[in-house]
């Protein structure tokens, strides 16, 4: 087979081969080595069913949810350099992001709109899975993991909502806190639960740091692990669902 000269120059050298450990993937063996020899790619299978890559089947909704999660993780880490979860600093840090930090407002916008998008796309992904019957045996358990992921996505958004410490944030969380306080019996369970969530009886400094730690450490970690399990189960359940073959 005739090789492209430029491609040959780029791939037929010791450096390329030390990194990728296989030839340019133009035959079946090196195509499979692309997958098996790569830490990030090998969670996927070497071959996929044609139905899996049909755009009209998944509409890419699960993958979009995942990509938004990745973008949110990266922009979130960058935001952590500028944001300090204290009552004195939090709101001013938001103002600084808008007016003082170079491209800070874009960073914040990416994170905010990405979060709204993730909630929407995870929900749409669930609808896709339902309407294609993708939760039937052997995928029942992965559907359950999905439901938990949806709930965690909602909690991630909610805990992030308080952090700007503006009127919107404060009163939204006040509503939620009141809500938690209504779990019966209110005087025992409800009161204790809202005490646990807020670290007190009002939405103040203790609540802010609790929401912050949940938002930047606990929930993202749980989400990342569950997404890992979700993807692993897709493999173990035999790839994506597809129509029965004739």
């Amino acid at each position: 087979m005739k090789k492209n000269r430029l491609l040959d120059l780029l791939t037929n050298n010791r450096f390329y081969k030390s990194v990728f450990r296989h030839d340019y993937p133009d035959n079946d063996i090196s195509r499979s080595e692309v997958v098996t020899g790569n830490l990030l790619l090998h969670i996927q299978s070497v071959k996929v069913h044609k139905n899996t890559i049909r755009t009209g089947y998944t509409l890419g909704l699960g993958l979009i949810s995942f990509y938004l999660f990745v973008i949110l993780t990266i922009t979130g880490i960058l935001l952590m350099f500028y944001y300090i979860p204290s009552l004195e600093r939090a709101y001013n840090d938001m103002k600084d992001l808008e007016f003082a930090v170079s491209y800070g407002i874009i960073l914040r916008n990416l994170h905010r709109w990405g979060a709204h998008g993730m909630v929407a796309f995870v929900f749409l992904h669930m609808c896709r899975v339902f309407y294609t019957g993708g939760y039937k045996q052997p995928r029942e358990f992965n559907w359950g993991i999905g439901v938990v992921l949806l709930i965690i996505t909602l909690f991630l958004s909610l805990t992030g909502y308080l952090l700007p410490w503006d009127q919107l944030a404060f009163w939204a969380i006040t509503i939620v806190a009141k809500l938690i306080g209504t779990v019966p019996p209110e005087s025992i369970l409800g009161a204790n639960l809202s005490q646990l969530v807020l670290g007190g009886t009002i939405v103040g400094q203790n609540a802010l740091i609790r929401f912050y730690v949940m938002h930047v450490v606990v929930l993202p970690l749980v989400a990342a692990v569950l997404i890992g399990v979700h993807f692993w189960r897709i493999r173990k359940d035999g790839g994506l669902s597809r129509p029965a073959e004739e």
């Binding site: 079946d28 938004l68 009141k178």
Partner: protein, 179 residues
């Protein structure tokens, strides 16, 4: 390939000691493999994945360049906005809260909905229609799920666009301005 599968794809004729399996156009030998409707992930899957990532990132970037995330005045516990609204994805809950004792709408119903959702695959067990959008064999399931989606989205729309001061109903064009 296990024996049973092989016999289905390459049936044996009792009168012949030889058989032509199949002529296929590929770049490598296909020994003991039948037609399987798969493609290699590289490049078919990975390029699509990369393309989708670029699309998602570009779209999000455009939105972020055009619209700024909201930031209101600094939190002020002594100045209650009317109405105070939760973020949109919780407005369905907030809407239900306003009907009865908040526990039912805000905690009980969502918990029950989550449990039912998790249990769906254990009730709906027929394998008919898997892998097909809106399969006709699944009319009832699809109908029930659609009712759920319409209710969930509908409550959010009511909470977001139709609720004004004191959580009263208003048409969007009659909505009093806040404060």
């Amino acid at each position: 390939m296990d024996k049973k599968e092989e016999l289905v794809i390459f049936p044996k004729s009792p009168n012949k000691t030889y058989g032509l399996m199949e002529l296929t156009k590929t770049k490598s030998f296909q020994v003991e493999s039948g037609p399987d409707n798969t493609v290699s992930s590289w490049p078919h899957l990975f390029f699509r994945e990369l393309l989708l990532f670029m699309g998602v990132f570009i779209a999000l970037m455009i939105i972020s360049l055009l619209f700024n995330a909201p930031l209101e005045e600094q939190a002020n516990p002594s100045n209650t906005p009317n109405p105070a609204k939760a973020p949109w994805y919780f407005l369905g809950l907030q809407e239900m809260l306003s009907w009865t004792h908040p526990f039912w709408g805000g905690i009980f119903i969502p918990t029950v909905v989550a449990i039912i959702l998790i249990l769906v695959p254990y009730f709906d067990r027929s394998q008919k229609g898997v892998g097909i959008w809106f399969a006709p064999e699944r009319k009832l399931a699809n109908l029930l799920f659609t009712i759920f989606v319409v209710l969930a989205v509908g409550l959010i729309v009511v909470g977001e666009f139709l609720r004004g001061p004191n959580w009263q109903l208003f048409w969007p064009w009659n909505m009093p301005s806040p404060h």
